[in-house]
């Protein structure tokens, strides 16, 4: 998905001379093609995330279209106040590209896990939050980001499990991958392949599930959720993110304010750090978040 991002950005940068790529010294073996083609628009500002964000905001205020690329905990959490004030509050046209969604960097440990970012970014006024579930969604979201003026966070993950959403998608609109009847599986980011596996499990139990990719968590697609509630459809949300404040919370808010009730379940990371040692798949399994083809 990182390669999809950079290839799409290169394509955009060929047409738009104001696109600038900023990295706080991260992205080795991914960003080089951009550096080579646009050296004057490639800025490695050193391991200084606060400066990366505010520098990008300054460039944006002067008319540039900066994309800041690094690992999520350093982008979102290390520099959160810079994001809050210089990107969100000042409503600058800065795109934040967060790498390593959820347990993508599983073996690296909790310093590198990204499990609170959706919650944090969702709470910031003016911020659009996109979490593509596969390379098809990632390419379309990055391509649309240039038209989406203002602050935007794109959560990039990693999986080699294929394309699960072949739809033409639109930022802010849920993508209905499979129509169902009595239950809806709503997924975001890395969980899309697992959501497909989870649907197979439900089908084996005799259920008839919708499969919905909520690639945009903010603004959340209320219309789709409210329709499910009106139709009395049970809803399960899947996210490789803390159970607090992410997709599950966003969907729960819509259900709670709809005036109606449906059966509802959040599937995500419980309120804990991972001390497990192992790969993304292994850690997901420990938290009950891996649903493979075996179901």
């Amino acid at each position: 998905m990182r390669k999809t991002f950079i290839n799409t950005l290169i394509d955009l940068a060929r047409k738009d001379k104001d696109i600038v790529l900023i990295t706080p010294d991260m992205g080795f073996s991914v960003l080089e093609p951009f550096f080579e083609e646009f050296p004057e628009r490639s800025i490695n500002c050193g391991i200084a995330e606060q400066n990366a964000i505010s520098l990008a905001a300054g460039l944006a205020l002067a008319g540039k279209k900066p994309y800041v690329y690094t690992i999520i905990p350093f982008l979102v959490e290390r520099a959160f106040e810079q994001v809050r004030l210089d990107v969100a509050y000042m409503n600058t046209n800065v795109k934040l590209i967060g790498i390593g969604a959820g347990f993508t960097y599983g073996t690296a440990g909790a310093t590198h896990h990204a499990i609170e970012d959706i919650s944090l970014m969702r709470t910031l006024p003016n911020m659009t939050v996109c979490c593509p579930g596969d390379n098809n969604e990632a390419e379309q979201i990055v391509r649309q980001s240039i038209e989406n003026k203002g602050p935007m966070y794109i959560r990039i993950g990693r999986h080699n499990r294929g394309i699960f959403d072949n739809n033409k998608i639109e930022i802010g609109k849920a993508s209905i991958i499979q129509e169902g009847k009595d239950i809806a599986v709503i997924s975001t980011s890395n969980m899309l392949p697992d959501a497909a596996g989870y649907c197979k499990k439900l089908e084996a139990e005799g259920r008839n599930p919708y499969l919905i990719s909520m690639h945009t968590v903010k603004p959340i697609d209320k219309t789709v959720i409210e329709k499910l509630v009106n139709d009395g459809v049970e809803i399960h949300t899947l996210e490789e993110h803390s159970i607090i404040g992410g997709l599950g919370s966003a969907v729960a808010e819509v259900i709670a304010e709809s005036g109606k009730g449906v059966k509802f379940k959040r599937i995500g990371i419980p309120d804990t750090f991972s001390h497990y040692i192992g790969s993304q798949k292994y850690i997901k399994e420990q938290f009950g978040l891996y649903f493979g083809e075996e179901y």
Binding site: V20, E40, R41, I43, C45, G46, A48, Q50, N51, I53, S54, L55, A56, A57, G58, L59, A60, L61, A62, G63, K64, E81, Q82, L85, D86, Y89, M90
Partner: protein
Amino acid sequence: MKNSTLREIRKTIVKMVHKAKVSHVGAAMSVVDILYTLYFDVANINKDNITSPDRDIIILSKGHSSAALYSVLYHKGLLSKEYIENYSIDGGSLPCHIDKEKSPFFEVSSGSLGHGPSLGTGFALAKKMDKNSGRVFVICGDGECNEGSVWEALMFASTHKLDNFVFIIDYNKFQGFGATNEVIDQTNIAQRVQSFGFDTLVIDGNDLNELKTALTHKSDKPVAIIADTTKGKGVSFMENKLEWHYKSPNDEQLEIALAELEEKY
């Protein structure tokens, strides 16, 4: 050093904080000569060029001294009297910390310390990329230099040879709990900044001639100006007194302050 404009600017500041009963008058009085020299004498900023990419950029990173910026812009004719009268009141026009939405002459919002230098390097780099003229002036407090993000920006500016970037420290020697150098020792701040690759000047930051010389100094490196100032400058009972980081003058103190300013400037 009689200067009727600067006298009126200082009087407006004291009247604003008195009326609104807000803090930070000491910081406004130390930085105001820097802002006055920039807006009235050095910087290329006016009503007609405020959207031009070639204009100079001024960033008051120490946003708590906003009253000084507001007063300077008002006396320059860039903010209305109504705005000044509605400073920091319910439903007012100007907040204690700068909100860029309130005027096109506020290049950035500020109030949280240590953001201005990085924002400024962004403006300066954009000018370089597009071959636009104009310089970028960023004003920080000496206490503000405790923030690590300030130094991240300085490293970046010298690495990228941003000779259009001017970093100014309002060295008034006081911060939250007392003397700056007792909280975090920065007595050699000029050497520190110089060692980060800046062409560094140390001046009297309340002296208009020295300010003009320094602010027009051109170099092939980014420029730093350590402006040695007096906190509360111009009002004897406010000068070098920590309490005026927090207090606002009462009616009697206002009258004394205005009378002193009338005499001195």
